[in-house]
């Protein structure tokens, strides 16, 4: 039944009421919560108390929202050093859950939740699903990994509380995902965008076109993705693809979400207070300008974080959103200040390469960037999977394609890359976050 594809775009849900609070009321709520959380952090977490003492301030110095700039920043390294439980503000008999980051280098970072925290998380996830147009009675296939990673359980609890039917698939096992999606008639899927494209392509190989299924919504996050990739995901899946943002340090998924307008993400600022700073000077950027997102948890009991540096680069969108939500909006995060790499002195983000590649007709979003050094000079190679649409039968046509891709990249970032075309499926598929850059340079 094709009409399922164009079914309802959401509508109001009582849980979403805070999304529409009048500004004055929202600011009052934020300030009351900020005062409480600073006090809680000061009294229960030695790191926050020490940092505030170093600055010569106490919780009483926070009398307005602007006073937040008096506070110290919290960094990822602070969380690593406090491993495992050093950042907790609640006694263990109030902590009902822990999660941990993957910890690619050394120890993971551990985060904690009281029952109240889990309830807040569930609340913002319900508001996220509503914002994407999911509703009671939808079947939501949750393909985020279950476990220490926050994605799986965060989306799971939110979908249940919404009144949807959750299929707790977890990540991986693509053929099974496709079978279940088809047989159960999933209406929405939550996973990383790169994994969704992989899943849709695999489905086609199995003779299943996702556009013929009741699937209509993708809730995609956990990695930066371009508008080009969104277009591919929407085309191949016959869906609307929404960007969800979150990080385990703050709560997990559900910090911010797109609405039907798909023009930026609404931050649930009644629980997460955002600032945009210049990552070099640490000063606030002028309104609407790009900088690093800094978040303060306004209601987190077990692990309050003050001015946490996310490393994610974005900007606030000051204009009112057409969806009617009054909570603030940030631009989609295209890059992180720490996944940037420097090649021959030029700062490059993988998302820039992705955007350049996807501008070329018939390309696939399967690519990998390999950095090497030869004779002291940095070399960038972009490995790129060939599709039948972009491949001709003559050497000239393939070389032309290489030149087109090379030019697309060079005109975007100003650096020449070697384009290596590879056979399909030769770039490893990630079940979660795609690995885009392999840096083989030494030192």
């Amino acid at each position: 039944m094709k009409s399922k594809k164009s079914a309802s775009c959401g509508g109001f849900h009582p849980v979403s009421a805070p999304d529409y609070l009048p500004q004055t009321q929202l600011r009052q709520l934020q300030l009351a919560r900020l005062k409480c959380i600073v006090k809680r952090a000061y009294e229960n977490v030695s790191l926050h108390r020490q940092r505030m003492e170093e600055k010569g301030i106490t919780p009483d110095d926070i009398q307005s929202l602007e006073d937040i700039t008096k506070l110290h920043f919290t960094m990822k390294d602070d969380l690593r050093e406090a491993y495992p439980f050093g950042m907790f503000a609640s006694p263990m008999d109030e902590v009902v859950r822990v999660h941990a980051s993957s910890g690619t280098t050394g120890k993971p970072t551990v985060v904690a939740y009281t029952q109240e925290d889990v309830n807040v998380w569930t609340n913002v996830m319900v508001r996220s699903f509503v914002s994407c147009g999911c509703h009671r009675g939808d079947i939501i296939q949750n393909a985020y990994g279950y476990g220490l990673f926050t994605g799986g359980l965060g989306a799971h609890y939110g979908a249940e509380a919404l009144g949807a039917t959750v299929i707790p698939m977890s990540g991986g096992n693509t053929d099974r995902q496709i079978m279940i999606m088809k047989d159960f008639g999933s209406n929405a899927i939550s996973c990383t965008p790169s994994y969704f494209v992989h899943l849709a392509e695999r489905a086609l190989e199995m003779g299943i076109d996702l556009r013929d299924l009741p699937l209509r919504i993708g809730v995609f996050g956990a990695e930066p993705w371009s508008d080009g990739l969104r277009q591919r995901a929407e085309e191949i899946g016959g869906i609307k693809a929404y960007d969800i943002y979150g990080l385990s340090e703050i709560i997990g998924p559900g910090v911010a979400i797109e609405c039907a307008m798909q023009e930026g993400l609404h931050i649930f600022e009644d629980h997460f207070y955002p600032e945009i700073i210049d990552p070099e000077t640490c000063e606030a950027v002028p309104p609407g300008e790009e900088g690093e997102l800094v978040l303060t948890t306004l209601s987190k009991m077990a692990m309050p974080l003050l001015r946490y540096r996310t490393r994610d680069i974005t900007r606030m969108i000051p204009e009112a959103c057409g969806c009617g939500r009054t909570i603030c909006r940030m631009a989609r995060i295209g890059r992180r200040s720490d996944d940037m790499f420097i090649i021959r002195g030029v700062n490059v983000y993988p998302s820039q390469i992705e955007a350049a590649l996807l501008k070329v007709e018939g390309t696939s979003p399967h690519y990998q960037i390999v950095l090497t050094r030869a004779k002291g000079l940095d070399q960038m190679e972009v490995q790129f999977e060939v599709t039948p649409e972009m491949f001709g039968d003559t050497v000239g046509s393939v070389e032309n394609l290489q030149r087109t891709l090379c030019h697309a990249i060079e005109s975007t970032i100003g650096v020449r890359a070697k384009i290596t075309l590879v056979e399909p499926h030769s770039i490893e598929r990630s079940q979660g976050k795609a690995k885009r850059v392999i840096d083989k340079r030494e030192g």
């Binding site: 190989e205 060939v386 599709t387 039948p388 491949f391 001709g392 039968d393 003559t394 050497v395 393939v398 070389e399 290596t420 075309l421 590879v422 056979e423 399909p424 499926h425 030769s426």
Partner: protein, 145 residues
């Protein structure tokens, strides 16, 4: 007349040619003729088989990138000058050849030349006008048996 040729993208690495060939072998599909273009980085394998639809499906299931192209098959005498005489005609007709390859059936005195022209329809018309024996797919395939 016009034949459908399969072309495959291959990385220029050991064992990469074997994958499609083995897949066809396992499916019991015989290759009538082939040509392999190589560059430092990649190769393009071009194949003529009897049942190209089935072969394409087999190759795609084996994970290959497969494209189809229309090529023109011409029969000439298998003797010195057989090709050169034909090329004279092609030159006079003002047709450009992108690439070509040849095969025989291992018997008789005839050879089949496979041409890739930019515009195969135009080429067929011009060649037939010049009296060249353009081979029909069906008759070509029946000869091999």
């Amino acid at each position: 007349m016009k034949l459908t040729q399969l072309s495959l993208f291959l990385e220029n690495k050991p064992a990469h040619l074997k994958v499609p060939c083995r897949a066809l072998a396992d499916a019991g599909i015989s290759i009538m003729t082939l040509s392999l273009a190589d560059t430092e980085q990649f190769g393009i394998l071009r194949l003529i088989v009897r049942d190209w639809q089935k072969a394409k499906e087999v190759l795609e299931n084996a994970g290959c990138v497969v494209n189809t192209t229309e090529v023109v098959a011409v029969e000439v005498e298998d003797r010195p000058g057989g090709l050169a005489d034909l090329l004279d005609i092609i030159e006079k007709a003002g047709i450009n050849i992108e690439y070509m390859y040849a095969f025989t059936f291992g018997r008789g005195d005839r050879a089949i030349l496979v041409f890739r022209f930019e515009d195969p329809d135009e080429a067929v018309t011009k060649l037939q006008a010049a009296g060249v024996g353009v081979v029909e797919g069906i008759s070509l395939y029946s000869r091999g048996t």
